[in-house]
């Protein structure tokens, strides 16, 4: 299923696009924010959960996953180099799974790990930091699978992904309880909250719901993306 050659090419293409710095920006902001709040509110009991849960899970994690998830395959499709990969007998599901795995690993590195570092910097939050880290690891996998699917379905995957993160998760997810059922941020929070319950996280879903839905979304997105890639057509330029 996992193709090392595809993975190597993907990693080199992703880092070679000089976007590596871009991924790091939200992570740096999170750590800087944590340090700033720590300096001004040394004794505040709940801010760690708020900063790490709110900024970490509703901004850092989805944006990093969005850049990487839509880039690993979408960028190649956009510039046409994907055809060199697709004109080989490598199975389409293997391409999708490998690309999604690279994007997930990158998101873990640029979002989940900074989340852990920020969590450890916050006072008295060792267990919370670990819980958020595990939630973010799960979120990395689910988000990137969804964004890889978006990049195969539409050329405007970044816009679609932003709308989903900002409107659906950012607004509806917080005000309309039902919207949480389809919110990847809430799956991640649900998992983190189950490991270290904290009301400041505002977790809306339980552990089993989060796990089941998270797995369903990941597997579903990967299967759909593979199927879609099997019908990859070169954009026609009618005369």
């Amino acid at each position: 299923m996992f193709n090392p050659t595809v993975a190597t090419l993907t990693i080199r293409a992703t880092l070679g696009r000089r976007r590596a710095l871009l991924f790091a920006i939200p992570a740096v902001v999170l750590i800087a924010l944590t340090l700033a709040v720590r300096a001004t509110h040394p004794a505040g009991p709940t801010w760690a959960a708020q900063v790490l849960g709110d900024f970490g899970f509703s901004v850092l994690l989805p944006l990093t996953a969005l850049i990487l998830g839509t880039g690993v395959l979408g960028a190649e499709i956009d510039d046409g180099s994907a055809i060199h990969l697709l004109a080989t007998p490598v199975s389409r599901s293997s391409i999708v799974v490998t690309k999604a795995a690279v994007a997930a690993a990158g998101t873990m590195l640029f979002a989940a790990v900074p989340e852990l570092i920020a969590g450890l910097l916050a006072p008295d939050s060792g267990k919370l930091a670990v819980a958020l880290f595990i939630g973010a690891l799960a979120g990395s996998v689910i988000y990137t699978a969804a964004f890889v699917l978006a990049s195969v379905v539409t050329t405007r995957a970044i816009a679609v992904g932003l709308l989903y993160v900002l409107i659906w998760e950012g607004l509806l997810g917080n005000f309309v309880g039902g919207a949480r059922i389809l919110s990847i941020a809430h799956y991640s929070l649900g998992i983190a909250n189950a490991i270290h319950p904290d009301t400041a996280l505002n977790a809306g879903l339980g552990l089993s719901t989060s796990l089941v839905l998270g797995i369903a979304v990941t597997v579903g997105a990967l299967v759909l993306a593979s199927r879609r890639l099997s019908s990859f057509a070169i954009k026609g330029e009618p005369a």
């Binding site: 046409g80 060199h84 004109a87 007998p89 057509a233 070169i234 026609g236 330029e237 009618p238 005369a239």
Partner: protein, 307 residues
């Protein structure tokens, strides 16, 4: 012996018909798919390569449809027109990565062989981003050849090549064709393929307009009627000299100075105009073909093939 078979294949995008009811079969050897830009050549190649579904009709390679059939890439290589490659790789890395994707038993030997065939061994250690257009074209061919495919499809392979590179590419295609492979390439410049022999399929506006032997088409090309506008130091004397030639069908002195010469044989006129002016002591100032548009050339080919 037919390897690629198209039966009544059409392809449209919305209301635009790109390929209209084409039936053709392509066998071993070199086949040129010729036609002006927008004639549907790329659409045909993409359909054969499995990157586009026919809207209507059937298309098979060795009896199997290519659409949604990834197994086809074990015996088929594609050189796309766009030269978007993994530019951050060296030429050798790109070819070897392709060999790995094909899971070749000896990727090292296959890579070396493909680089040798395309004359890219010397430049293989450089990044593709530093390559000229002609070199990119050749490294794409090397990658498409690395798994020793029976069928090689090339979309405008001569684009951006200098004459020497073009000759080399033609030699390579001829050699591959002589080995019994099916080589199908597209081109919108007829003169480009002068060195190749084999079959030609001419497409105009989505339809198959003519097909036949390269030599026959080339003969038609050079003996086609043509209009030139000529300016010289003595237009009247040049007109008189030209009227005496068998291939001149009309000469007109234009009001603005200069001549309009209608010739029945493009090739003979081009070969002799310089000698005629020199022998008559006339200085040739300007010589312009007036209807050199590709459509008119292809249009002429179609009408002469039909008759």
């Amino acid at each position: 012996m037919s390897v690629i078979q198209l039966s009544a294949v059409s392809r449209w995008y919305g209301n635009v018909v790109a390929v209209n009811d084409i039936t053709m079969s392509i066998g071993p050897g070199v086949t040129g798919l010729l036609g002006p830009n927008g004639a549907g050549k790329s659409t045909i190649l993409h359909m054969i390569a499995g990157f586009l579904a026919p809207s209507k009709g059937t298309l098979t390679v060795r009896g199997k449809p290519t659409w949604q059939n990834t197994g086809i890439y074990r015996t088929l290589g594609l050189v796309p027109e766009r030269d978007s490659v993994y530019a951050f790789l060296t030429g050798e890395q790109f070819v070897r990565a392709t060999a790995r994707l094909h899971k070749l038993p000896d990727e090292e030997a296959a890579t070396r062989h493909a680089l040798e065939m395309t004359d890219m061994t010397a430049a293989a250690g450089r990044r593709i981003s530093t390559y000229s257009k002609g070199m990119r074209q050749r490294i794409k061919v090397a990658a498409a050849l690395v798994h020793d495919p029976e069928i090689l499809l090339l979309d405008e392979p001569f684009n951006g090549m200098d004459p020497r590179q073009r000759l080399h590419m033609m030699d390579l295609l001829a050699k591959l064709g002589a080995e019994g492979r099916v080589i199908l390439f597209s081109s919108h410049i007829l003169e480009e393929v002068e060195k190749l022999s084999g079959t030609i399929q001419v497409m105009v506006a989505g339809r198959l307009a003519a097909s036949g032997d390269f030599r026959a088409i080339r003969r038609l090309m050079t003996s086609r009627p043509h209009v030139f506008s000529v300016r010289s130091s003595d237009d009247r004397r040049l007109a008189a000299a030209l009227v005496g030639r068998p291939y001149t069908s009309a000469v007109e002195l234009t009001g603005t100075g200069g001549l309009q010469v209608r010739t029945s044989d493009f090739g003979a006129f081009c070969a002799q105009i310089a000698t005629i002016t020199r022998d008559n002591g006339i200085a040739l100032r300007e010589l312009l073909p007036t209807d050199e548009s590709l459509e008119s050339v292809f249009g002429y080919l179609i009408s002469s093939q039909g008759s």
